[in-house]
């Protein structure tokens, strides 16, 4: 990276350099990907911190939405995608509602998660939901205790969904297969075992 002005004393120059701006593997395309997937102009963030101040996850963890916004602008793809805090956003949209730049930091986080998934970085519970839906159409499927309760209530044991009409499942599987989602979920989960 070109530096217009610097100390001649190399040791001092090194000491003063904000390394984050000069990390050689910084990816300037990263913010563009985040903006395209998240459909929000994330580079407009001016780091006021309203987002972190509104975040229910911030007071009980090291997750800082403002930091993720800054790092994405700086192209610190590697740091972002490998940070376990990426998955602590509850997607409550408080930051998005309050952002004075009219951005959607929540959707930027969703975009970063999508980009992490493309590199097989994803917590297991997300993939287990995919498997459940592939199998039954439901992320939270029916069970025997619930069937008994439904019967008591005068409802059919199976709700009027894919549970009662499994003939709709092939269509759902076709959609998931189109994106190779089940295949990838199975593969990544098998790696972790």
């Amino acid at each position: 990276m070109a530096v217009k002005k610097d100390y001649k004393d190399q040791k001092l120059s090194e000491k003063l350099r904000d390394r984050k701006y000069y990390i050689p593997d910084s990816n300037p395309e990263f913010i563009k990907d985040v903006e395209k997937i998240g459909q929000t102009a994330a580079h407009m963030c001016y780091q006021c911190g309203t987002c972190t101040g509104s975040c229910p996850s911030a007071p009980r963890s090291s997750y800082r939405i403002r930091l993720f916004m800054r790092k994405s602008i700086l192209g610190l793809e590697e740091e972002i995608l490998t940070d376990p805090d990426l998955w602590l956003c509850t997607t409550c949209y408080s930051c998005t509602d309050r952002c004075p730049r009219d951005l959607a930091p929540t959707d930027a986080i969703m975009a970063m998660r999508n980009l992490a998934f493309k590199r097989d970085i994803i917590p297991r519970n997300f993939l287990q939901t995919v498997q459940l839906i592939y199998k039954s159409g439901h992320g939270v499927p029916n069970n025997d205790a619930n069937r008994a309760a439904r019967k008591r209530l005068g409802l059919d044991e199976e709700p009027e969904t894919t549970h009662k009409y499994p003939e709709y499942l092939p269509g759902i599987r076709k959609i998931l297969d189109h994106y190779r989602l089940k295949e990838n979920a199975d593969r990544i989960l098998a790696q972790g075992e």
Binding site: I37, P56, S57, R60, S61, W87, L88, C89, T90, T91, C92, Y93, S94, T96, D97, A104, T106, M110, A111, R113, N114, F117, I122, P123, N125, F126, Q128, T129, V130, I133, G137, H138, G139, V140, P141, N142, N146, A149, R150, R152, L153, G154, L155, P159, E160, T161, T162, H163, K164, Y165, E167, Y168, P170, G171, I172, K174, I175, H178, Y179, L181
Partner: protein, 300 residues
């Protein structure tokens, strides 16, 4: 759009029919009592879970949610639903596809493989907003349907996140201190109470409940403490996933943090059902993890 503004395709989601079926039974009965018919939406699936699917690949989320909307389009009906998470998926994807041609074309290319097409002819509503809308039901008609007023019960309202936020895309107005759900509670004769930080998230969303349950429960615990501070007999919400987090979450909080709250958790439709004279058995309230009995003693 539904030709008849009092008939809707009922999108069930997962947690209501498969964990708290009393919500489903209550929604059908209580809606009928105020003149709304909920018809089965055959073959619907998970919305799919916005936190889980949206985090993995938003394109799959769009396509899967669109399939559910198309089922209602084929019936020539609008969708009504009882869950904020479902609202996020079904309402928002419907909205996005109606206003973004590129997105719609992409989704329709995939739907073509299963002989479906998103046309953009249906609207999506949360039952709570239909109850509040004076052109559909309205607070007065709701109050008139009450047979057993919930007099003397102090009820905290949990709005949840995905019904009203992000507000610039939605139509619910103020999200900092809304009061419309309090009006819905007051219509049943109960006393809605204000508590600290009432708009805070339940903690479960975005896949966090599955990813780091202690973190999720810590958020839930904070909300329960804030409710306890003002003394409530129950908390009500319009999201079965929030309900699960508050209800089963209290058992988990006791195990993990050693803190006991014992605050009954009721979906607004369950509350409405009780007020309209449904019995606790009609609502399968015994399925709740936190005993609802103390609340029932107060009102029955």
């Amino acid at each position: 759009m539904s030709k008849n503004k009092h008939q809707y395709a009922f999108f069930l989601g997962c947690i209501a029919p498969n964990r708290y079926p009393g919500i489903e039974a209550a929604a059908i009965q209580t809606s009928k009592n105020v003149g709304i018919d909920l018809l089965p939406l055959k073959g619907a699936s998970c919305c799919p879970a916005p936190g889980a699917f949206g985090s993995i690949d938003l394109n799959v989320w769009y396509a899967m949610a669109a399939r559910n909307v198309v089922l209602a389009e084929q019936m020539g009906m609008d969708i009504a639903l009882v869950c904020n998470g479902c609202y996020k998926s079904i309402w928002e994807v419907n909205h996005k596809l109606k206003h973004n041609d590129e997105l719609r074309d992409g989704v329709n290319e995939v739907l073509k493989e299963i002989d479906m097409e998103f046309k953009g002819t249906a609207d999506v509503w949360h039952l709570a907003e239909l109850y509040y809308d004076p052109e559909i039901v309205g607070v007065k008609k709701l109050a008139d349907s009450v047979k057993r007023p919930l007099t003397g019960a102090k009820v905290a309202v949990h709005y949840g996140c995905h019904l009203m936020k992000p507000s610039k895309e939605r139509h619910f107005g103020d999200t900092e201190n809304p009061m419309w759900m309090e009006e819905l509670v007051a219509a049943l004769g109960a006393e809605p109470v204000q508590y600290r930080n009432k708009m805070q998230c339940c903690g479960a969303g975005g896949g966090v409940r599955g990813y780091d349950i202690t973190h999720a429960l810590d958020i839930t615990n904070e909300k329960l403490i804030n409710m306890e501070e003002v003394g409530v007999d129950a908390v009500t919400e319009v999201c079965p996933f929030c309900q699960l987090q508050f209800d089963r979450g209290q058992i988990e909080i006791k195990e993990k943090f050693g803190v006991e709250h014992g605050i009954p958790v009721l979906h607004y439709n369950e509350l409405l059902g009780l007020a309209q004279g449904m019995s606790p058995d009609d609502l399968a309230l015994d399925l709740h993890a936190i005993d609802v009995e103390p609340f029932l003693k107060k009102i029955l």
